[in-house]
């Protein structure tokens, strides 16, 4: 397996180091001279200096082989998008993985069909939301390619779904309940499962159906 890692900052360098430890072959590309010189001590011939959005720099790093995966991990979202487009569309790289620095740019990555993406800020926010009780519907996982997401809701005493069987709920089309966590134990949600106050319910649904699901399970 051969990989190109674009961007030798903290993220790129740590990823490259981990990949090398797993025995993969790779080339790391870093633009800034001072950073490159630091990396050269550790990565030797496996790091090259240059702008990874320039075609000749990518070619020097072996993009025409092509690599199995290109990782666009620079601190600049525009650069990461361009690297992914060039890799996939010009050199037929089968897989690209992009880092999203500013979560507001996620929509642009999606628009250009760049997937999968990883955004540390968005992940941290999701985890924080998971801890904050006033958020009644928590996003746990987004499956972008499938256009589905997994959310968690907590049923309370006033919820219209408390005391009802799953099969009796008018769940919105494009949504399913996955599991019910009660007293620390999780069970797969089936038609005969009765929801109770205090249950933590996982649901899978199409993005945009959150409000409908919230109405059925929680309240208006």
């Amino acid at each position: 397996m051969y990989l190109i890692v674009a961007g030798g900052g903290k993220v790129g360098a740590n990823v490259a180091r981990s990949l090398l430890r797993l025995g993969y072959e790779l080339t790391l590309i870093e633009q800034r001279r001072d950073q490159y010189e630091r990396l050269e001590d550790e990565f030797e011939h496996q790091v090259q200096r240059g702008d990874a959005t320039e075609l000749f720099v990518l070619e020097r790093a072996g993009i025409a082989r092509p690599p199995d995966i290109v990782l666009a991990l620079t601190g600049d979202d525009e650069d990461n998008m361009v690297i992914c487009q060039i890799a996939r569309e010009r050199y037929d790289v089968p897989k690209v993985i992009a880092r999203v620095n500013d979560p507001r740019n996620q929509a642009h990555f999606d628009l250009l069909g760049i997937s999968p993406t990883v955004c540390a800020t968005a992940r941290i926010m999701a985890l924080v939301e998971h801890e904050v009780p006033e958020h009644d519907l928590i996003h746990l996982l987004e499956l972008r390619r499938e256009n589905l997401e997994i959310v968690e809701v907590q049923i309370d005493r006033d919820s219209p779904s408390a005391g009802k069987r799953v099969e009796g709920l008018a769940l919105p089309e494009g949504s399913r309940l996955i599991s019910v966590m009660r007293n620390g134990k999780a069970e797969i949600a089936v038609g005969a499962t009765t929801l109770e106050a205090g249950d933590q319910v996982l649901a899978i649904l199409e993005p945009g159906k959150e409000d409908e699901l919230r109405r059925v399970l929680l309240s208006t």
């Binding site: 320039e54 075609l55 600049d76 525009e78 361009v82 507001r104 929509a107 628009l111």
Partner: protein, 142 residues
């Protein structure tokens, strides 16, 4: 007709002024407030401070009913991404993007983005100028 110019440096500001002169309704976006001074003392169009990747700002600048978008910030990749957002997300018919790197300009031109590469234009113009020089026959190459 409505035009949106993103990036108000030497190039962007001149384009904005010329479009205005030709009767366009022009909105300009630049990250720096100082850039407004490039548009003279009596700029009749709108001027918004912020990043051209910011969708809220693009909305505020009226991208939805823009007939043309010119992207000329100092970053090639920024221009390439904004150009594609204008084209694919907002369906702007005429999107013109400045890309200094000839290789990237060609790659995106092949993919349907109207890129203009000042570097290639400069190379061609300089080559023509060299060829047009009258070199005395005695010194001619050969």
């Amino acid at each position: 007709m409505k035009a949106l110019v993103i990036g108000c440096g030497r190039v962007g500001s001149s384009i904005a002024l010329q479009l205005d002169e030709e009767g366009w309704d022009v909105a300009v976006i630049d990250e720096k407030e100082d850039a407004l001074s490039r548009l003279g003392d009596h700029w009749p169009g709108s001027f918004l401070v912020g990043h051209g990747m910011d969708v809220d700002l693009l909305h505020a600048a009226g991208i939805e009913d823009a007939d043309a978008v010119v992207v000329a910030t100092d970053g090639d990749n920024t221009n390439i991404v904004i150009g594609q957002v204008a084209q694919k997300r907002f369906d702007v018919r005429c999107v013109v993007v400045r890309v200094l790197d000839p290789a990237r300009a060609r790659f995106y031109a092949e993919r349907g983005l109207r890129t203009v590469c000042p570097t290639s234009v400069a190379i061609d113009t300089l080559m023509e100028a060299v060829r047009a020089c009258e070199i005395p026959a005695t010194k001619a190459v050969g």
